[in-house]
Symmetry: C2
Subunit: 268 residues, 2 copies
């Protein structure tokens, strides 16, 4: 349902107003997705319900193939670049925004119980950087991880920038929060996962690991790493590096480890 | 040699003025490094000559162990936060800057000829994004690549942000430019490298590759990839991904491939 908007103060596009300011506060029931690539994933591969779309008029032609995928009653707001920028509060170069519902968070036990017998899960502890969390979800989607678990300190994957950096990966890979790193390990063990904790001080070397049927990969933040009590009760694994330069980005680390776990043993 | 600066217009700190504006223009003979981590690499592991250092007074105590590593005649300018911000032109939170000399670029033949018999080299084609180039150098340093080759379209690794993202990796791994991707492949072949070109359409699968004694890994930009004539004359290799989500960041890709090449076969 197309609705042309000419007044930036139109009450129908309230949800698109002052995007950055609301990003900072956080949105409890909704999230904002931006850009054509992300909208395509949201429409085709995601579990989230789209409430509405706001498009620059100049983008309509290029997006024609996607719009019929929206439910007929979903509003497609269109506006000039100028009106769109005024609504959003900054120049929105991509000219493509959508508002979707977060849905109800799934308890971790329920999420893990519906995974297949052979499964790969990622657990994030204390990852406060949206670029890193977005990058990890991108890798999780690329290597077919079935779920991502987040502790309370890990930032919101449905933050606009994290979605963009993930190239829509956060919309594809199911995720849920757990109360703590310890609760994460307990839930994974209860669901018969071998829990691998990546750490520079890990006892085993990643390239020697043969994944079992259900494997979970835990990642901590670049400085502090995973907490000692998690390292004490899991299989710790390191990625050896060249002398004197012991430094990898955590998203890159997730890519290296997921690639190894996805393609070793099973040799797909 | 410590020199306290109290006047932002002091002619001795000319090289630190308007850092961002000069970043955009580019510096022909010098570069700017920022932050404690990068300064540490510059002092301890790099081949570059430091011309001077500019430090916020509040940082002096924390950096005390590093400063004796500077040549005695190298100026260590110190200033208050306020004066430092006025010199640089924006709030320089890290409070640590250095100016170093680029040195004379080494011809590719000379660089390759002095590498050991067993060597791993990275070649970058058309990579215009400083985050990606910085990220790739970080991985090259972490996995002990001996050199990085850049075509003319690849951006400057000595740009301030690329150095920072590389965590100093661009200061550690030798690099040089070649006139074109074709010249890169020719120089590598002449130096007995097997040239592996990463591409989503690659014939071989990365996890099956056993690296030979001298291996070069070529990477192109995320959209266009490597040019067809390069793919036609090299061994093309792909990283298989999960159905429907065929997308990896190029820096992550470099990390996955370098990890595989560094630890397979030799099983270090």
């Amino acid at each position: 349902m197309r609705i042309a908007i000419s007044d930036p103060d139109d009450s129908r596009i309230e949800a698109y107003r002052a995007v950055r300011e609301r990003d900072l506060v956080g949105r409890q029931h909704r999230f904002v997705a931006e850009g054509e690539v992300v909208l395509r994933v949201l429409l085709n591969q995601s579990r989230f319900e789209i409430e509405s779309v706001l498009l620059a008029e100049s983008r309509l032609d290029g997006l024609g193939d996607m719009l019929p995928l929206l439910a007929p009653e979903t509003p497609i707001y269109t506006a000039s670049r100028q009106v769109m920028d005024a609504i959003v509060g900054f120049p929105i170069h991509r000219g493509v925004l959508a508002i979707a519902r977060r849905g109800v968070p799934e308890p971790v036990e329920s999420l893990l119980s519906r995974l297949p017998e052979k499964a790969l899960v990622v657990g994030l502890v204390g990852l406060a950087n949206h670029d890193n969390v977005g990058g990890i979800f991108r890798n999780a989607a690329a290597f077919g991880a079935q779920a991502v678990l987040l502790d309370q300190e890990t930032c919101d994957p449905l933050y606009r920038k994290a979605i963009r950096v993930s190239v829509g990966g956060v919309l594809v890979v199911p995720f849920t929060r757990v109360p703590s790193a310890e609760a994460m390990v307990r839930a994974l063990e209860a669901a018969s996962f071998e829990v691998i904790a990546l750490s520079p001080s890990g006892r085993d070397v990643l390239s020697h690991i043969k994944p079992v049927r259900r494997t979970a990969l835990l990642l901590g933040a670049e400085g502090p790493g995973l907490p000692p009590d998690v390292l004490a009760r899991t299989r710790t694994v390191s990625i050896p590096m060249s002398g004197g330069f012991d430094s990898l980005n955590v998203a890159t680390t997730s890519g290296i480890a997921l690639h190894h776990l996805a393609f070793t043993g099973s040799r797909r």
